[in-house]
């Protein structure tokens, strides 16, 4: 038990080291000395308390979409739709923060909005579950297609009923002042929602590892046929996981608009797809995902700093995310082979 935990951390660290070396070598060939890149990146990601707080702020949505992906993947449900569920949650929160204002004090209204946003994200995800159960449409494909449909729906709302009358730009009005969350650190928009995200991760960790339902989710993911044979409610668990996953992504969207942006502009956000990288780097374990989200949050703020200082495109960050996913899988496969087959026979 203890050893598998250490093994998992080593695999993730090995993958991170491998990818960082590869990227530094490539940037070195392109004429950027590795040490300068590394120190500039670190300055941007954690060079001061403000910068560190910015990285944590960036880790918030990544943590939630990472958990959304991980919860589904653990159960063998391929929800690639966090992107769309995030947007739907965000637009719900904006709607209830602008045109559909709920009367009442903020401490009462904000949780209501959070729940509504999570519910809308879950509902969007359940469309995919429904199509799977009813017509056998593969979830991996329907969730991706729903991402693009969500983007259009949000675009329509942003330029339609939610549009800010004061501007011609495609954006919504600002969420009412009393419903905005204050910054916890000066110079950043680190807000209470990020703290809640970390609490959710811990609760999910307990739920997945210490409860019967968590055990069933795991079992269904490992072998749905065997799970059915021992009498587990396979379909119910798959639907539950989908709702939970969509709810987390929807909540992430709400937290982002309430805490950080204050409005929505109807362009893609990419937190959803990045969540897959977070989940894989965190080895689908909630605590691992906390670490992975913090690292990728630092990667994001650091790479924007690199773009400003050294003119290295911040898109390199996306490449690093993809490479990290590959590296983690490769490292895990090599480790598994080492452990399972001590006397290496080759197939």
């Amino acid at each position: 038990m203890m050893r598998s935990w250490i093994g998992g951390v080593l695999i993730a660290l090995g993958a991170v080291a491998l990818v960082l070396i590869a990227v530094l070598v490539v940037l070195g060939i392109a004429g950027h000395p590795p040490w300068t890149v590394l120190t500039t990146w670190f300055q941007g990601a954690a060079g001061s308390w403000t910068r560190l707080a910015l990285s944590v702020q960036e880790a918030g949505p990544l943590l939630l979409t990472g958990l959304a992906a991980a919860v589904a993947f653990r159960c063998g449900v391929w929800n690639i739709g966090a992107e769309g569920q995030f947007l739907i949650g965000a637009v719900t929160a904006v709607a209830f923060g602008t045109v559909l204002l709920i009367p009442g004090p903020a401490w009462l209204v904000l949780p209501v909005i959070a729940v509504l946003a999570a519910a809308s994200g879950a509902a969007w995800a359940l469309v995919a579950s429904g199509l799977d159960r009813w017509r056998g449409v593969p979830v991996v494909l329907s969730t991706i297609l729903l991402n693009f449909i969500a983007l259009a729906v949000v675009g329509m709302l942003v330029q339609g009923p939610l549009h800010d009358p004061a501007t011609t730009a495609p954006q919504t009005a600002l969420i009412a002042d009393h419903l905005r969350l204050p910054a916890l650190v000066d110079g950043t928009k680190l807000h209470l929602g990020v703290v809640v995200a970390f609490l959710i991760a811990v609760v999910l960790w307990l739920g997945l590892t210490r409860t019967t339902i968590g055990f069933e989710v795991e079992a269904v993911g490992l072998n749905p046929v065997a799970a059915r044979l021992v009498g587990m409610p396979v379909a119910a668990r798959q639907v539950l996981v989908m709702a939970l996953s969509g709810g987390l992504a929807g909540f992430a969207g709400a937290a982002q608009v309430i805490g950080v942006t204050g409005m929505l502009s109807g362009s893609p956000v990419s937190y959803g797809y990045a969540g897959i990288a977070v989940a894989m780097l965190g080895r689908l374990h909630p605590l691992g995902i906390i670490a992975a989200a913090l690292f990728l949050g630092m990667l994001s703020t650091g790479s924007r700093h690199l773009e400003r200082r050294l003119a290295i495109p911040h898109d390199v960050g996306d490449v690093v995310q993809g490479l990290l996913v590959l590296a983690v899988l490769v490292a895990a496969a090599i480790a598994a082979r080492r452990v399972l087959r001590p006397q290496g026979e080759e197939a």
């Binding site: 593969p138 259009a152 330029q159 898109d315 996913v325 590959l326 490769v330």
Partner: protein
């Protein structure tokens, strides 16, 4: 006579269907062999940027096409190495390929822009014309043929090649031993192995071939159809192709029909948009239309048709 609406729509439908068919053939073959490549969106995008960069840097359109073929094949080779040889999860690796392609093409585009290469010179891209090396006058004469000219001859160079590739793929899958092997690879890899067929070598080759086709489709988008590049220009087309492959039941003939039908929807919507329908219907409806159509197609296609039995499964099953 050639500006009749049905003629124009037929011409536009075929123009829109070409990249779908090209990349769809590759994906169909790879899936038949048991490999699900969700990274096809990334393969397309890599073809777009490599084709554009190749054409703009060398000043030669054919070099662009070659670069796109190589880029698609290389990225697919990474995918094949990870999934077929290392037996890693196909969906997760596919999404990783997408991330790498989005970031890689975005970075490359920024570098190109900074070095002053944001516009493709006319002679560096492919001009409109079905058969290359034919004079513009001959081209225009064929394109001007009544009724058949616009949709048959006023197409880009890859359109004719795509028809040939589609026929070849259909014939190989339908009529040859290789086609039988491809199908068996996806349905019963164990039986293949027992018959002395190198399952993993076949799969690697087929996946790389599919990657090259997707790369070519990307080049069609950047150096032929739009004559330029913009980040995320594929805009989810790869995922629509995944839906079309399923809707075409992994058969080339049905896939081509599905892509043509899709092309007609696409042409109709741009026709309606140009007729000012956006005043009544928000343009986002048109933006979402391909994905809604794809989702509806999957929802209402006949049930009970399952794909290759071992689709998405690593082989050998345990080791």
């Amino acid at each position: 006579m050639n500006d009749l609406v049905p003629v124009l729509i037929a011409a536009q439908a075929i123009t829109a269907a070409v990249p779908l068919v090209l990349a769809g053939i590759g994906e169909s073959i790879a899936q038949r062999a048991g490999v699900l490549n969700v990274g096809i969106e990334g393969l397309l995008l890599s073809g777009c940027i490599a084709g554009y960069a190749g054409a703009v840097l060398s000043g030669c359109a054919w070099c662009g096409l070659a670069a796109a073929l190589i880029a698609g094949a290389l990225l697919a080779a990474v995918f094949a190495g990870a999934t077929v040889l290392m037996r890693l999860d196909q969906i997760v690796v596919g999404m990783a390929i997408n991330l790498i392609a989005v970031g890689g093409s975005g970075s490359a585009w920024l570098v190109l822009q900074r070095s002053g290469h944001e516009a493709l010179a006319a002679e560096a891209g492919f001009s409109r014309g079905l058969v290359p090396f034919v004079s513009a006058e001959t081209q225009a004469w064929f394109a001007g043929l009544p009724l058949v000219g616009p949709w048959l001859f006023d197409q880009y160079a890859l359109a004719g090649v795509t028809v040939l590739i589609a026929f070849a793929a259909w014939w190989v899958l339908r009529r040859t031993r290789a086609g039988l092997v491809v199908q068996a690879l996806g349905d019963a890899p164990d039986a293949c192995a027992a018959n002395g067929i190198a399952v993993r070598r076949w799969r690697v080759v087929l996946v790389i071939l599919a990657g090259a086709l997707a790369g070519a489709a990307g080049a069609y988008l950047s150096i032929m159809r739009t004559h330029g590049f913009n980040p995320l220009m594929t805009g989810g087309m790869g995922f629509v192709i995944l839906a079309l492959v399923i809707f075409g039941r992994w058969r080339i003939d049905l896939l081509v029909l599905a892509c043509l039908g899709f092309g007609v929807v696409d042409a109709l919507q741009s026709h309606l948009q140009s007729r000012g329908l956006t005043a009544v219907v928000p343009y986002q409806v048109f933006q979402a239309a391909p994905f809604i159509v794809a989702l509806l197609a999957l929802t209402f296609m006949r049930r009970g048709i399952s794909g290759p039995r071992m689709l998405g499964m690593p082989w050998p099953a345990e080791r």
